[in-house]
Symmetry: C2
Subunit: 361 residues, 2 copies
C-alpha cells in the first residue's frame, strides 16, 4: 500500500523526508562506500555526524551553556533506574509527581535505590487530571523532583513548567520533547526516549546540567555513570549509530520546518482540530481528560457506545488510518499527534470520524 496516516504512540511516525533520505543513503552514506550503520563510531565521518546532530539539538532547544547533551541507550525505563543511581546516594530521597503510567513506573524503578517519595499524584482522579499544585508536598531537601510533562498513555500534559524552587527538576519528556519551545534553564535534567519525536527506538537523548554530573551517586559500573558518558562524548561504548544518524536527520528537518516555535503552532492546531471534533460530535466522541490537562501529543478518546469500538478500528484501518487503538490501561481510542504527523492526517481522521458517526449514529 502507499503510506498510511500513522497515529502510533511509539515507535511512531517519522518525517517522510527523513525516511527518504535514509533510504537514498542506505548503501552509500556521505560518499563513504558504506551504510552509516557499517562505519566505526570513532571514524572522522561519524564523529562529525554526531557533533552536528548535537549542535542542531542545542540550537533547536536553545540549550544554555553549562549543560551536556548525551545520546544514550536503554530507553527511558532504564533511566528511571539510572537517574537515582547517579543523582542520589543511599539514604537520599527524591520527590516524584505522578500523573500516569510512566510516572508510576519511574517510581517503581527508582525504589530499589532511593526513597522515591510521591509528592503529588492524580491517581485518585484516575490520571485524567493533574494534581493541584497546592497539594504537592515537596521536600526542599530532596535530591531532585521528577515528573512526566506528558503522559503518553493517559493523555495528560503539563502546560507550564512547575516551580520547584532550588531542587533540580528532572523531566521525562519522551513524548513531548521538541513539540514546542521549552526553557531548558528551568531543568536540571531532561531525558527522552527517541521513538516518538526524535527517531527510532533504542536511543535516549539526555540534557543534563553540569552540577548534576558532579554528584557522586552510588558505587556502580562505569557504564552506568552519566559523568563518564559526558566525558567521552557519549562514546564510552559503541552508541546506537543508526539512531543517532536518524535523530540528526530529524533535527535538520525540524530546522527546515521553522524550528520549535513553528512546530508548537502546528501541534496546537492539530490538537485543536481533534478536540474540536469531539465537541462538535454531539456526544458521539469524547475525551476523558480534564480540559486544562489535555495533551497535544496523545489524545485518548471514547465512542459513546463501546460496542462500536471494533467497527471503528476496522474501518479506520481500512481507510489507511493506523494505530488508533487505545492503550489497554485506558481503553477506547488514542491518536498520537507527534511532530511527524501532519495537519492533513488529522483532517483525514476528523473527516473519517464524522462519516463514521453519521453511518453508525
Amino acid at each position: 500500500m502507499s503510506r498510511a496516516w500513522n497515529f502510533s504512540a511509539g515507535p511512531a511516525a517519522l518525517p517522510e523526508a527523513v525516511l527518504k533520505r535514509a533510504q537514498a543513503e542506505m548503501l552509500d552514506w556521505n560518499g563513504s562506500g558504506a551504510s552509516v550503520m557499517e562505519l566505526s563510531h570513532r571514524g572522522k565521518a561519524f564523529m562529525q555526524l554526531a557533533a552536528t546532530a548535537e549542535e542542531r539539538l542545542r540550537r533547536l532547544l536553545g540549550v544554555p551553556v553549562g549543560y551536556k547533551v548525551l545520546f544514550l541507550q536503554g530507553g527511558a525505563t532504564q533511566h528511571f533506574a539510572q537517574i537515582p543511581m547517579n543523582l542520589a546516594a543511599d539514604g537520599d530521597s527524591a520527590d516524584y509527581i505522578v500523573t500516569g503510567h510512566w510516572g508510576e513506573k519511574a517510581v517503581r524503578e527508582a525504589a530499589p535505590y532511593i526513597n522515591a517519595r510521591v509528592a503529588g499524584t492524580s491517581e485518585a482522579a484516575h490520571y485524567l487530571d493533574l494534581p493541584p499544585r497546592e497539594r504537592w508536598t515537596l521536600d526542599p531537601a530532596a535530591s531532585y523532583v521528577h515528573y512526566t510533562p506528558n503522559e503518553t498513555i493517559h493523555g495528560v500534559e503539563f502546560h507550564d513548567v512547575p516551580d520547584v524552587g532550588d531542587v533540580p527538576l528532572v523531566a521525562d519528556m519522551s513524548s513531548n520533547i521538541l513539540s514546542e519551545p521549552v526553557d531548558v534553564a528551568k531543568f536540571g535534567l531532561i531525558y527522552a526516549g527517541a521513538q516518538k519525536n526524535i527517531g527510532p527506538s533504542g536511543l535516549v537523548v539526555m540534557i543534563i546540567r553540569d552540577d548534576l554530573l558532579a554528584r557522586k551517586g552510588r558505587p556502580m559500573a562505569k557504564i552506568f555513570r552519566y559523568a563518564e558518558h559526558a566525558a567521552n562524548d557519549s562514546m564510552l561504548n559503541t552508541p546506537n549509530t543508526w539512531g543517532w544518524y536518524l535523530a540528526g536527520l530529524t533535527f535538520e528537518w525540524l530546522e527546515t520546518q521553522g524550528g520549535l516555535a513553528a512546530m508548537g503552532e502546528r501541534n496546537a492546531r492539530k490538537a485543536k482540530t481533534l478536540y474540536d471534533a469531539f465537541e462538535n460530535s454531539g456526544g458521539f466522541y469524547r475525551s476523558p481528560v480534564a480540559v486544562n490537562a489535555r495533551s497535544r501529543m496523545n489524545v485518548p478518546f471514547t465512542l459513546h457506545d463501546s460496542a462500536l469500538d471494533a467497527a471503528f478500528l476496522a474501518e479506520s484501518e481500512a481507510a489507511g488510518l493506523l494505530a488508533l487503538k487505545g492503550h489497554k490501561a485506558v481503553g477506547g481510542m488514542r491518536a498520537s499527534l507527534y511532530n511527524a504527523v501532519p495537519q492533513e492526517a488529522v483532517d483525514v481522521l476528523v473527516n473519517f470520524m464524522r462519516d463514521f458517526a453519521t453511518k453508525h449514529g
Copy 2:
C-alpha cells in the same frame, strides 16, 4: 562512490542483500504503509517479525530447549555489569579468563558488584596468546566463569570451548557469534553486541539457560533483571525495533548462505587467505599473534617498517579498502573478516598488499 570493501571492526559490514531489502522496505514494510521503525513493537506484525527472528537464530545455532533468547539494549559493555548483577549476589565471586581488552573491561565493570577473580590471563604475553589451561586457577565455587572467545582488538581467538566443569560458562561472543557452529549446551550464557556479525549497533543478543534466570542476584530495578526481560519476550520496555528487524534479515540471509557450517568454512578460508599472505610476503607483513591463538574474525598485522603505515592506509583507502587502521592499543593494521565480508574482499586486499609490498619493498 560505489560500495567499498569494508574491514571495519564494528560497527561493521552488513550483507549487501540485507541493506538492499531494508532500503526497499524503508517507507512501507510488509504492506503496512509505514516503515518498520514507525510501528508499535506490540502490534501483531512486529511481534511476528520478532518471533521469526528468534526462531531463525535458534535454528542457526541449534539452541537446545531450556534456554531463553533475549534481544536487549545497551551493548556488551552494559552487560559486563549486568551479568554479575543478575548471576551473583553480594559477597559472591566469579572467575574471569582475560585474553585482551574486552576481558579486562568485563572485569572492571563487574568489580563494583562482586569479587571478579582473574583466574587466567595472557596479560604477560601482551594478549598475543592464550593463557595455558594448566595455569588457570578456576574456583569450583565461582558463580560463573566469564571469557571472551574472540578478542576484537588483540585478534586472539579460542578454537575450542574450555571445560570449566559444573560452573556455568559465560561467553562474550560479540565478535565471533554466528561465524561457525557452536555447541550452545556447553554454555550457561552467551551474549553478543550486534554490530559485528548480527546487525547495527544498539542491540545485544543473549542466550541464557533457564537455571541462571532463576538466580536471585542483588536488589535492583526490574529493567536490569534478565528474568523480567525473558518473562516479557524482550518487550519489558520498547526494544530496538530496527536492530531486531535487521538482525532477523541477517539470520535469514545466513540461512540462504547455508547456515553456520557453510559460514565456518568460508570464514576459515578467508582467514587462511590473509594469514598465508603474511607468510608469503617475505617478512613485509606479519601477524603479532601466536599461531594457535589467531582469530578468524579480526586479523591485526604490522608492516616490516612502521614508517610505511601512513602510506598503506592512504593507498588502501584510495583503492576502496576501508577501515584497515589497527586499534590504538595495538597499532599497525587490522582487517576484520566478519560474515558479511566476502572472499572477494579478502582477495582484493591481498592483491593490494602484494602490489604495495612490491612498490615499497
